[in-house]
């Protein structure tokens, strides 16, 4: 996307102008169809899953936003919604589910516990599922209301519509960086996760 924008800055003079237009058109078509027919894979572990069910049911009805079909198989899903706290015992499970989902795929972390561990800063709980899988949208709340989750879904739509097929930079790394299982360098994780942590002694990466 960045490259496309840079090319457009010199539009009028550049011979790339037409190409950029064609790329934009392709991106628009692909992204619209992706964003408007997301197939969610619900991973509900706690009370957030109740709100998730309310979001899926008729009153709030996220089928209005294209999430008509809930995929209870990761092979046919493209957005993983982790609703609820994640114990360490489930960490390899959600990782495997994420690995089984075909590209392109996105993850919504629903609720305080999934995003940061919430009040469960203890021996059994993963402190934020972003230590296990990469997360696109964090929905705060304990649990978030259905409106909150819908807003998160709309933010994800926005994010998907801003992606580009011709930009390889945001393509996800399938394999973790090192043997610690981190997908980002530890400094970067500490920097971006600072506001989430509820422990002053521990950083997210260590």
């Amino acid at each position: 996307m960045k490259r496309v924008l840079e090319t457009k800055e010199v539009a009028g003079q550049s011979p790339n102008y037409l190409l950029a237009k064609v790329q934009d058109l392709i991106d628009w078509a692909v992204n619209s169809s992706r964003a408007n027919s997301l197939w969610p894979m619900p991973f509900g572990t706690a009370c957030c899953a109740i709100e998730f069910m309310a979001t899926a049911a008729s009153r709030y009805d996220f089928a209005r936003f294209g999430m008509e079909r809930q995929a209870f198989s990761p092979r046919q899903a493209d957005v993983l919604i982790c609703a609820g706290r994640l114990p360490f015992k489930l960490a390899p499970v959600i990782r495997r589910i994420y690995d089984q989902m075909p590209q392109p795929k996105w993850v919504i972390s629903m609720g305080a516990c999934a995003s940061s561990g919430g009040i469960f800063d203890n021996y059994a709980m993963v402190q934020g599922i972003d230590t296990i899988v990469p997360v696109d949208v964090y929905v705060p709340g304990c649990p978030p209301r259905p409106e909150g989750l819908l807003y998160g879904v709309l933010l994800l739509h926005k994010k998907i519509k801003g992606e580009s097929l011709f930009d390889r930079a945001p393509r996800r790394e399938e394999q973790p960086l090192d043997e610690r299982g981190l997908r980002l360098p530890p400094e970067q994780i500490n920097e971006i996760s600072e506001p989430f942590g509820n422990s002053i002694h521990q950083f997210r990466s260590a």
């Binding site: 360490f88 960490a91 390899p92 021996y123 059994a124 610690r180 521990q202 260590a206």
Partner: protein, 205 residues
């Protein structure tokens, strides 16, 4: 006060410690060494008939002077009476007790949970292994007072160990060795196992 207390004192004498009443429930402290005898007597004596083991759990108090307690909640379904038996153990000492699984089959998972959370070993338990935490959990016993709230390992190490776990490893080493031995069984026995026939459960009487 529950009438079983007098009967216990008359039968076992000094093995029965103090008895108190709390919120309408009778609590009896007994000698750990006499636990299987007392429990069997409570179950089998017709006047007592405590046929239902409601729960087995353990308590460690914040006060370091107080011993670690293992709590047995008994109920007699026929007599509609409850009795709570407590056994005191030294947290620094040998945390071993006799299992009550031969008396109440329901104690199986309850004792496994106490073992998992407090590290109390139950002698004679048919399959004593962790039940809530995974088999390879190496940080200790989470509900002990000397266990730090966030665990002993760093978060990175916990994540690494969790991700290294195999999600399909629901089975104990015993079960896995049985599965491995399956191929070596004679065909007629394989056929019987396939039809769902199971061996006699080891601790059934």
């Amino acid at each position: 006060m529950n009438s079983s207390v007098e009967a216990l004192r008359a039968t076992f004498g000094s093995a029965i410690g103090r008895a108190i009443e709390s919120c309408g429930d009778t609590i009896v402290y007994i000698d750990p060494a006499k636990l299987p005898e007392v429990m069997r007597w409570l179950r089998d004596t017709p006047e007592q008939h405590y046929d239902y083991l409601v729960d087995v759990t353990a308590v460690e108090y914040r006060d370091r002077e107080r011993p670690l307690e293992v709590v047995y909640n008994l109920r007699s379904l026929a007599r509609r009476t409850d009795l709570r038996i407590k056994v005191e153990l030294d947290p620094q000492g040998d945390l071993t007790l006799d299992s009550v699984v031969p008396l109440w089959r329901g104690a199986d998972w309850l004792e496994r949970e106490v073992y998992d959370m407090f590290g109390i070993t139950f002698r004679g338990h048919p399959d004593l292994r962790r039940i809530l935490m995974w088999d390879t959990y190496a940080e200790g016993y989470p509900l002990r007072k000397d266990f730090p709230l966030r665990g002993r390992f760093s978060r990175a190490e916990q994540v690494r160990q969790a991700l290294a776990a195999n999600p399909e490893a629901h089975y104990s080493m015993e079960e896995l060795s049985i599965a491995q031995a399956y191929d070596g069984l004679p065909p007629d026995m394989q056929e019987r196992l396939r039809r769902g026939e199971r061996a006699k459960i080891p601790y059934s009487e």
